[in-house]
Symmetry: C3
């Protein structure tokens, strides 16, 4: 399958990456993730060029990885620096790809494309993840056995919330939604306003006022390839957003294979920052919703699609809430096409 | 794979079909089965045309099914009757196939082909299933991971009983069999008479006479596509059939995929009608024979055949008891060919 | 996949083959193994030519196998000797392939090719397995989910021992190795001498002298198709081999499929012949090393290779210790080519 390669994806939560190497498949490539003695994260193609043992089974010697099978050693750039055998000469082809990484927002980001273009300023903003004074955050990880586009669709069409997620549903159902879609550059926005509407069970976790109604908002921002920022909140009816409950979230999707997706999420809040019990409730609630409500439906979609990865190619009925998802597919498709044409050009001239 | 589509298959035992929708794959198509408020059974293609969520995961609103993902509602004819989103207009393509059903003999029958041709009088006779005065019946269901033709072969060649099923074997073995095969229209008959022969353990469950021998019969009737009626019984030597033990059975096979078969069975008896203990013994015995004796061998056959579905294409050695199975394959193959030619004709003229 | 067919492979440990038939896949062919009344082992293609039931599910009647499904009986040559049905005539095609077997060294050897060429003298020497006076032996069996060539590579390149197997590693690492490779006819030899070197934990199991160093050797002999003899031992520094510890081993590999290998091993010793406790320690140690150290790495290699069976086709980096494995692949490839050309010739002239 074709992916956007010149882009930042989440490789792992920062806490997952330790000295001890571990393996993760990203865009169908096996990658070994570990930390150097300095604490800096490193990533190599996880296949020894000698006899294909995964380097992640080996061990660290200082900043190098030593293959478990015959002991070739590779530095953080993927260059073989020791051949312990025979004449000990190192074959020129004894090197593996290394990947640019950048640590930010509690995640280790990876750039699978041209290293020269790996500019950390291209990571989109998720500022609540750094603003520890105003926000407290819980995080989690799951995998979904479906193409990542189906997960993007799910997040860009939040009309499903009223049907699939009792915890997020409101008495008024989708009738209370005022929706807007827009595109700014390569970002797609899907906004839902639920003014003067009843509170759902999720909002009640943070709501301290006696009011039974509020002005709710559920605004999603998608940026390529599959990074979503969710501005979720509720205020007293008519009050400014800044005074209300803000529960922003990050939904960060990384394709593992055409049929499997890494799903990293962080759920923030600007209320009850010291309530550790609430941390637990929140983590469990979000985990339950994603794992027991979204995941089975998205996986059932993929099952119906069989080996097909592109839902649109199967001519589904389209409804208005599909617009942002369709647009995101178009933007991403175009970026992938451009990337492929760009990488094809030098070959032609060669 | 090609199936006979203009034919009745068993979709489910009547008791399986309730208000709550459930999914079953039939002839490779996902189907949701449920009951209307009137108690009438209904069947729709189990894939929402919007984003392919299975409708069987949704819930019933009166006689309609509401999709769990974004709430489209479909009536029993598969027509979308509610789009809760945006302008609420319903796309013309928002419909799914509905299937003719008919409830009879304790089963819900389905007609996967042209609805206009779904004539309930085409369901073959299994009258013992309705004659509650003379017969008591136990029923069961299993799946077999093999092409349904292999199960038909198994049932049309009952010579295997003497080797595979200790409960049905007789001291005399196949030597006591007198066999006859015949065809009447599209029905194939395989008759085995075991006159003045010892009793097997199954017959002894019903046998009350002191005689150690009886006239046994094991007559199988196949009708397309894969419906088998088994006239099994034993009488005192020389006595008329009507006076003897009759234990008729229905073996109703529905292809799930080329490699998996739904197997519905009902075992009747005209003796000890009030003996509930015997119900249990009978159910467990038949279940055990099918599950632990037939199923593993039929599945091993399919395993040897790999992805092939047609045993005959693999040039097996043929023996005399194979004749009825071969004929049934020929009749069914011809019916499928005719159906395909008929459905091809209009396309040509179009 | 193409295999060398005119060659001896181990079908089973002698003790595995009993009267009761059992099934094993060898070179992708299902084979039923059993013993005749005389104790002689027999092997038939494990698929009844009638309806493809595995003969291994049937039972023995004297020296014949009776199919469990409809009772055809086959003799040890694979010829059908009884059809119990109808006219009882036996179709000429009712026969299955039988395989030449030979029992030696505690194994039942099988010849999958032309029976006329099955000469037992072609089984390579593993004499320690017969010399009960000088050697005591423990044996085991495992399967490895990888192409058998990867297991051969593993055994012909024992440089991996210093990295993968703590029990066999020496303080000096690979630096203490002096290695030699040679070919004699179709046999490949890979010799490693570790003179005046520290003892590994395995050697210490047998070492009774106070010396802290010894002259170690680890010499592997490969003969086609995938039979390896391992001359492993250690002596007092400067002493003749005959006076030292000898722990010869047999590693006998039989391809099950392109992606799965039967691995039979026997580990001998010329010390502490009466020590039953040591039998247990030795069996468990060797089993642990193969199962928890070699097997996971070899299977990971295959996983990296996907459906590819030939590592060399994937252009790995080659190191000096790879030479014997590469040579063995060349010898085997040539033998397979010759065999295929020989078998193609008659067809051309026909
Ligand atoms: S496979 Fe890595 S050193 Fe051999
Ligand atoms: S998938 Fe059924 S309504 Fe969207
Ligand atoms: S399958 Fe063996 S006798 Fe029928």
């Amino acid at each position: 399958m074709n992916y956007l390669r010149n882009a930042w994806y989440v490789a792992a939560a920062a806490a997952e990456v330790v000295r001890e190497p571990f393996r993760r498949i990203i865009l169908e490539e096996p990658i070994v993730l570990y930390r150097l003695e300095s604490g800096e994260p490193a990533a190599l193609f996880d296949r020894c060029p000698h006899r294909f043992a995964p380097l992640s089974r080996g061990r660290q010697i200082g900043d190098d990885l030593q293959c478990i099978y015959h002991g070739l050693r590779f530095d953080k750039a993927g260059v073989c620096v020791l051949n312990p055998h025979g004449s000990k000469s190192i074959p020129q082809t004894a090197r593996v790809k290394s990947y640019p990484l950048y640590e930010k927002y509690g995640y280790v980001w990876i750039w699978p494309g041209d290293p020269a273009r790996a500019d950390p300023s291209l990571i989109p903003e998720f500022d609540f993840l750094e603003d520890k004074k105003s926000f407290r955050t819980v995080s989690g990880y799951l995998t979904i056995d479906a193409n990542y586009q189906l997960v993007v669709d799910n997040l860009l069409d939040l009309s499903h919330v009223e049907f699939l997620h009792p915890m997020f549903a409101r008495k008024e159902g989708v009738d209370s939604h005022r929706t807007e879609f827009s595109q700014e550059g390569n970002a797609i926005y899907s906004r839902r306003l639920k003014s003067n509407s009843s509170l759902n069970d999720f909002a009640r976790l943070f709501w301290t006022s006696p009011s039974e109604k509020g002005d709710g908002r559920a605004n999603m921002r998608w940026t390529p390839p599959s990074l979503l920022y969710f501005d979720l909140g509720v205020t007293e009816v008519g009050a400014p957003v800044a005074e209300g409950v803000c529960t922003p979230a990050a939904h960060l999707l990384t394709p593992e294979t055409p049929y499997r997706t890494h799903y990293f999420w962080s759920q923030g809040r600007n209320r009850k920052l010291d309530d550790e019990k609430l941390d637990e409730i929140l983590h469990n609630s979000v985990h339950r919703v994603f794992t027991y409500e979204d995941k089975p439906i998205i996986e059932a979609q993929q099952e119906e699609m069989g080996e097909q990865t592109d839902l649109i190619a199967m001519r589904p009925v389209l409804l208005e809430p599909d617009i942002p998802g369709i647009r995101a597919r178009r933007v991403l498709g175009q970026l992938i096409d451009e990337e492929e044409q760009a990488s094809a050009t030098p070959r032609k001239s060669a």
